[in-house]
């Protein structure tokens, strides 16, 4: 009757390689960021984007939290690139949690990730 805590292969790979973590390099276009923090839920997420010609030209994340959260941020940052700003900030946290096989008690952290995207969206709206 013991549960064996596990990470999916995707989570391991994304956590270990952490593609698009860190600082956004310079480049043409506008820089935007969105950040959300809920320390009591053990999640703190920040996205940095460069918009160019109506698309996300580059994206970076930084995160403090569990491996599932870090993997999710990496995945979201990866998928943003090439999307329109409107597409980039859309997220179904439940679907993402399912994709990464995150245990249900971690959904709260994915909502923080969603909040960071909302912050990003707000920043982009203001800039328009």
């Amino acid at each position: 009757m013991t549960g064996v805590a596990r990470y999916s292969e995707a989570v391991r790979r994304l956590f270990t390689t952490a593609p698009r973590s860190g600082f956004l390099p310079d480049g043409p276009g506008a820089r935007r960021h969105g950040e959300a923090m809920a320390l009591d839920r053990a999640a703190w997420v920040r996205f940095d984007l460069r918009l160019h010609e109506g698309r996300v030209a580059d994206a970076r994340f930084r995160a403090w939290g569990c491996p599932h959260l870090i993997a999710a941020c990496a995945l979201v940052a990866e998928r943003m690139v090439g999307q329109t700003p409107a597409e980039a900030v859309v997220l179904d946290p439940v679907a993402l949690a399912r994709e990464l096989a995150a245990p249900p008690e971690k959904l709260g952290r994915f909502l923080v990730l969603e909040d960071a995207l909302h912050g990003l969206a707000a920043g982009m709206r203001e800039a328009q």
Binding site: F15, A18, A42, R62, E105
Partner: protein
């Protein structure tokens, strides 16, 4: 490929090869396979192996063999001591004393006592994680039945002055139970000097097999215990169930080995732990949870600002086996109640790592582990949002 450095001795210690060898003989074709309760020659051979083991186990803690009762581990020993003594003394209530930093086996036994109508005084540790004997004295009431205080803490390694607490309990004729699961076999344990009535410990923390433990029961005056399980009447009727010969034999050998070089090994292990602490200094801001003396030699509990423990452990995978909080509830993501009781914030708990060294840890292991930890910290901190180093601690 080199295996990950094992720094989780506080959760479980690898089996000593001599223990494995003794158990293999016991389990082999010529071993004593009969039921040790059986009256025939094969049964007696098994019973004799168990009695020899009992003597070794007793020897480790300065007790006589008759005072040692075999159980399935420290969890059972703690429960038998606490529930057993209190239920035997009072059917519906009474006053008992323990602390907020005990192992779950003790905490949850006391919670059960609360459900059964007992009143529990939960002592808070001092800032350095210790239970002050004066606190114990202040908590005693005329109707107090039992005090339970651990010898060495499984998360911080902080040790209590059990002898001072024992003197107080004895003077007031209150039973004292000591959870020595972390200390037995690692530092000297002297049940008589402590004036303890009941002492729990377990084989797998001292190089023996998992699934066997012991409860020391003071001979004079002998505390009355209500068994947790009833049946064939083994262990003087206090712990029925067929005794596991190979398990007892393994426990006995582990105790003999531990007793043989207790002090030199404690000194060696303590030096390794302090070296590890020194090697981690470049990772400042960092802090030590419950670092004061006296302490168990092998446990180092460190907090790293800006770090989340689960990610740190995954990052260390393949390089270092360690534990965030207590291994017994690694599955739950709740912050350690032990560290919380020391005044740490939830974030500070989450930023903490328990590194525990032991008999088979070498200098090289500590060097390697420190390197891997520094590397992981650098990567994770580099990934954290700006401000995390200040906010998460």
């Amino acid at each position: 490929m080199r295996r990950a450095v094992y720094l989780d001795y506080a959760a479980s210690s690898p089996l000593h090869p001599e223990v494995a060898a003794a158990m293999a003989i016991c389990l082999g074709p010529q071993g004593p396979h009969a039921n040790p309760s059986a009256g025939h020659a094969e049964g007696r051979r098994a019973a004799e192996a168990i009695e020899q083991a009992r003597a070794s186990v007793a020897g480790l803690i300065g007790a006589r063999p008759e005072s040692i009762l075999f159980t399935s581990g420290a969890t059972e020993s703690d429960n038998l001591a606490i529930l057993g003594a209190c239920r035997a003394k009072a059917n519906h209530g009474g006053h008992v004393v323990t602390s907020r930093v005990e192992h779950r086996a003790v905490i949850d036994a006391f919670r059960q006592l609360e459900r059964e109508g007992f009143q529990v005084s939960w002592l808070k540790p001092t800032a350095d994680g210790r239970i002050d004997p004066a606190q114990v004295e202040a908590a005693l009431r005329p109707e107090t039945l039992l005090v339970s205080v651990m010898h060495g803490n499984n998360e911080t390694g902080v040790m209590n002055e059990v002898a001072a607490i024992g003197a107080i309990c004895r003077a007031r004729e209150v039973l004292l139970h000591v959870d020595a699961a972390q200390s037995a076999g690692r530092v000297p344990v002297d049940v008589a000097g402590w004036n303890a009535d009941l002492v729990a410990f377990t084989a797998h923390k001292l190089g023996g097999p998992k699934g066997i433990g012991a409860l020391y029961v003071r001979p004079l005056p002998r505390p009355v215990l209500q068994p947790l399980q009833f049946g064939g009447g083994q262990e003087h009727g206090l712990r029925s169930g067929t005794l596991a010969t190979h398990q007892a034999v393994g426990f006995g050998v582990a105790c003999r080995i531990a007793a043989a070089d207790l002090m030199t090994e404690a000194t060696r292990v303590r030096a390794l732990r302090e070296k590890l602490w020194r090697l981690l200094q470049p990772a400042a801001p960092l802090w030590r949870n419950g670092g004061g003396e006296p302490s168990l030699p092998g446990i180092l509990n460190v907090g790293f600002a800006g770090i989340e423990g689960e990610s740190l452990l995954l990052d260390l995978e393949g390089a270092v086996c360690a534990s965030s909080g207590s291994a017994c509830n690694a599955a739950s993501a709740e912050p350690s109640y032990v560290l919380r009781a020391l005044g740490l914030s939830d974030l500070g708990c989450q930023a903490s790592l328990r590194l525990s060294v032991g008999r088979f840890t070498a200098e090289r292991d500590v060097d390697e582990a420190a390197g891997a930890i520094l590397h992981a910290l650098e990567r994770l901190r580099g990934m954290a949002p700006p401000g995390a180093l200040e906010r998460v601690r």
